[in-house]
């Protein structure tokens, strides 16, 4: 049976922002639809409306010509709309089976049978009796999908499903989605990744600042045309110039090991590499393979053997981050609001946080506010942070602006080495472009970068040398020109 889902003139206004401005869309089963847009374009609000989490101010939704009242998530479920959220809606400490039975009305045995059938049919394998926190991101997503499939949905909405998946897992997911679509499930796929839209979808709707800007067949589009629609302006193409980099060694890591007592952390085994001035070393890998531990060891959050890190001819393995900054290292951690900045503190206070010693921010233990503010204004204008209020709490900055502020804060002291971890994670195309340009620029100024990232495209674009981390071990260092994303994918999965 065909399914027809129609969104008619939906508007949702939040204080200070129109999340959805008079959006109308129509979907039919048998096709895979992409809903494309930058962060904050209103895609998430729209799917939250479809799943009953958010109630629109105006507008109606029709399923097969019948008007739908979606006042709560259970209304959506009752009407056969299934949703897989970007941030998993799972109960980590409950077992997989408990997670599945909790919103099902079926008997234990019946449900078990049903789950078995689904897993066989789509070739999923998940252990039902382990707590969810033991699962990988890809497996967690499968649990979410199984949860939807149990209800035999007419509509399946996937919100940025690949942000936590490996390449391998992504292609598996795409195969499953195509299969679902063939079986008559209407699929709406929300993403800001253009490549995926081209690979998977039949039709694409682009949103920008709460408005629907275009609906088109995928055959009539290409990556550039979609990117321009999404951003609303022509994007500059950035390309790294390949120059002869200097041969002066800046940092050398020798036999670095880290053993953790926490079973959720990864041990680092015999890390060895060196990096010259003006080079960018990219470290690829599936998240959870020791990247966060490697970042912490390099930044001094975890202190190691003194001789294991040689930086600018000094042995600094036993120094803390503050002391390493004195030797002109700078850091941009993965989690912007947890590790890089303090959300409740103002922009200028956050700027002061990494500059204790070598600055004149503090006089005899007192804060020199005007100096810090002056300095903050300089960062904001030099690094394009889109605000003029330096008293604003940093939690109110968008991800892109916050990342620019953090990178700016680190770079304004002109360090010799910047270590960054997923610097563009969750950012929109415009901000990503800006960060990439900035990183290329500092390489051109003969400064070095260690870029730990789970985004293969980013690594291939920016790195001079690439290595892959897998289960806490680093592969051999390769020249970026000799590497393809397929090759990286194999290494990331533990192959040779």
């Amino acid at each position: 049976m065909n399914t027809n889902l129609k969104i008619s003139n939906v508007t949702k206004i939040y204080p200070g922002c129109v999340a959805n401005d008079n959006v109308s869309l129509e979907f039919n089963s048998g096709k895979i639809y992409a809903l494309l847009g930058e962060n904050g374009a209103g895609k998430s609000t729209l799917v939250k409306i479809l799943s009953g989490v958010v109630i629109p101010d105006e507008g109606k939704i029709y399923l097969n010509k019948n008007i739908l009242k979606l006042n709560s998530p259970s209304d959506a479920k009752k009407n056969d709309i299934g949703m897989v959220f970007q941030h998993f809606n799972l109960f980590e400490t409950l077992s997989v089976f408990e997670n599945l039975i909790i919103d099902s009305d079926e008997q234990r045995e019946n449900l078990k049978e049903k789950i078995d059938t689904i897993m066989k049919k789509y070739n999923f394998s998940v252990d039902l009796d382990v707590p969810v926190l033991n699962l990988s991101a890809g497996q967690k997503q499968k649990v979410e999908i199984i949860r939807c499939l149990i209800r035999s949905p007419k509509v399946l909405i996937m919100d940025e499903p690949t942000s936590v998946l490996t390449e391998q897992e992504t292609s598996e997911l795409f195969l499953s989605l195509k299969k679902f679509s063939e079986e008559g499930i209407l699929i709406i796929y929300i993403t800001h990744k253009l490549k995926e839209v081209m690979q998977l979808c039949d039709e694409v709707a682009v949103m920008r600042r709460g408005k629907l800007v275009s609906v088109s067949q995928i055959n009539n589009e290409n990556i550039e045309s979609l990117a321009n629609k999404m951003v609303g302006q022509d994007l500059k193409k950035i390309k790294k110039k390949k120059e002869n980099t200097s041969s002066e060694q800046l940092i050398k890591i020798t036999n670095l090991n880290f053993t953790s007592e926490d079973p959720f952390e990864t041990n680092l085994v015999d890390i060895n590499f060196s990096l010259n001035r003006g080079e960018c070393l990219g470290i690829a890998g599936i998240s959870g393979n020791g990247q966060s531990e490697l970042f912490q060891v390099l930044s001094g959050e975890i202190i190691s053997n003194k001789n294991s890190i040689e930086f600018n001819k000094n042995f600094i393995g036993n120094l803390n981050p503050q002391e390493r900054r004195e030797y002109l290292m700078a850091f941009s951690p993965e989690d912007r609001l947890e590790q890089a900045a303090i959300p409740q503190m103002a922009i200028f206070e956050n700027v002061a946080l990494n500059n204790f010693k070598s600055s004149n921010f503090f006089n005899n233990g007192l804060i020199n506010e005007s100096k810090i503010k002056e300095h903050s204004k300089k960062i904001i204008s030099e690094f394009n942070v889109n605000t003029d209020n330096i008293d604003l709490k940093s939690q109110f900055l968008s991800g892109g602006n916050l990342q620019k502020l953090i990178i700016g804060r680190e770079l304004i002291t002109s360090p010799d080495l910047l270590i960054c971890f997923n610097p563009t994670w969750g950012l929109d195309v415009g901000a990503i472009n800006y960060i990439h340009e900035t990183l290329i620029k500092i390489n051109e100024q003969n400064k070095s970068i260690i870029l730990i990232s789970t985004d293969t495209d980013e690594l291939l674009k920016l790195s001079d040398k690439i290595s892959v981390i897998h289960r806490g071990k680093l592969s051999k260092i390769m020249n970026a020109e000799d590497v393809t994303s397929e090759k990286l994918g194999i290494l990331m999965g533990g192959g040779n």
Binding site: S51, G52, V53, V54, I55, S72, P73, S74, K77, F85, F88, N89, L90, F91, E92, T93, L94, E98, I101, I102, D103, P131, L133, D262, P263, F264
Partner: protein
């Protein structure tokens, strides 16, 4: 030295009797905490239960009305807590502390007229079997219905949490209220219910003290048992069966203290009263070494307010 075997039985029985209010209050609080709500008002709810039970018994003369009235009083006072923390989204810790202070104060005020009034005898079950089996008889027979209920409660609670759908929902809400809400579970309703249930059990624990354990009203008669019950929940790592063990240890400490004084071994009373807390801290240190275990057993959202965004 010949130890009379029945005397040992009696000591064990008295330890069990002193464990009853701890088990009741802890099992109630455990359900509350499993739903993610930290109610530090246990002591206050217990003392309200104690005075309500005793007052109703004196006024109406009915034990049944008194016991259920005490539970209802616990429910009512916990409703205040539920309204504040779930509807008005106040901080759990501050509200719970206020509840305890409020309970102690108001119970003293109501209790003025009941000081010095003798309590009633509470009927016991299986009294005829009291002399049949050596050692076991005094342990098994001749106790009030509340006593038997208390020792069944940890098993019932464990079954409820592990095997029933409602138990699963309670755990789910405690694990992630956001996910639960997105799954269509009414988080606020579940938490209200768990808080009220906890209140009822604390009320019953209080009534046990003032009507059965020491049948009279004395101001502040819970004497910190509410705090021990709270510590016990943590001690048990939110596992009802371990509450039973912990309550026996903590209850035992009080009883042994009396007997030690009788034989003339002098350990400072203050040290023995502090022991439950010291033991709890030791247990906490031991389990925090295993981060996986603590993550699996602690309700992740414990003490955090849940705002439903719209």
């Amino acid at each position: 030295m010949i130890v009379d075997i029945n005397f040992v039985g009696l000591i064990i029985a008295s330890i069990m009797a002193s464990a009853v209010p701890l088990i009741l209050a802890s099992c109630g609080e455990l359900i509350t905490e499993r739903s993610g709500v930290l109610n530090l008002g246990v002591e206050g709810m217990m003392i309200i239960g104690a005075i309500s039970g005793f007052a109703l018994m004196t006024v109406t003369g009915s034990l049944i009305i008194a016991v259920f009235g005490a539970m209802l009083a616990g429910v009512l006072i916990s409703t205040i807590f539920a309204f504040l923390t779930q509807t008005l989204i106040t901080n759990h810790v501050a509200t719970g502390l206020a509840l305890t202070i409020f309970g102690i104060g108001i119970s003293a005020m109501i209790g003025k007229n009941f000081v010095g009034i003798p309590g009633k005898e509470f009927p016991v079950l299986f009294e005829g079997l009291k002399d049949t089996i050596p050692l076991l008889s005094p342990i098994l027979f001749g106790h009030s219905i509340v006593f038997y209920f208390a020792f069944a409660l940890p098993f019932i609670t464990s079954y409820f949490l592990k095997k029933t759908k409602i138990g699963l929902i309670v755990r789910a809400v405690g694990d992630s209220p956001e996910s639960a809400s997105n799954q269509g579970i009414n988080v606020r309703f579940v938490r209200y219910a768990c808080i009220l249930y906890g209140g009822a059990m604390c009320g019953l624990a209080g009534a046990y003290l003032s009507m059965i354990y020491t049948p009279q009203w004395i101001e502040n008669m819970t004497g910190g048992r509410g705090w021990i019950a709270l510590a016990l929940v943590v001690f048990s790592t939110w596992n009802p069966i371990k509450i039973l063990i912990g309550a026996m240890i903590f209850g035992g400490l009080t009883i042994i203290q009396f007997h030690m004084q009788a034989i003339g071994v002098r350990i400072p009373v203050q040290f023995l009263t502090a022991l439950p807390y010291i033991v709890t801290i030791i247990v906490l240190v031991v389990i925090s070494r295993d981060s996986r275990k603590i993550r699996l057993s602690t309700p992740s959202s414990l003490g955090k307010s849940f705002h439903k965004d719209n």
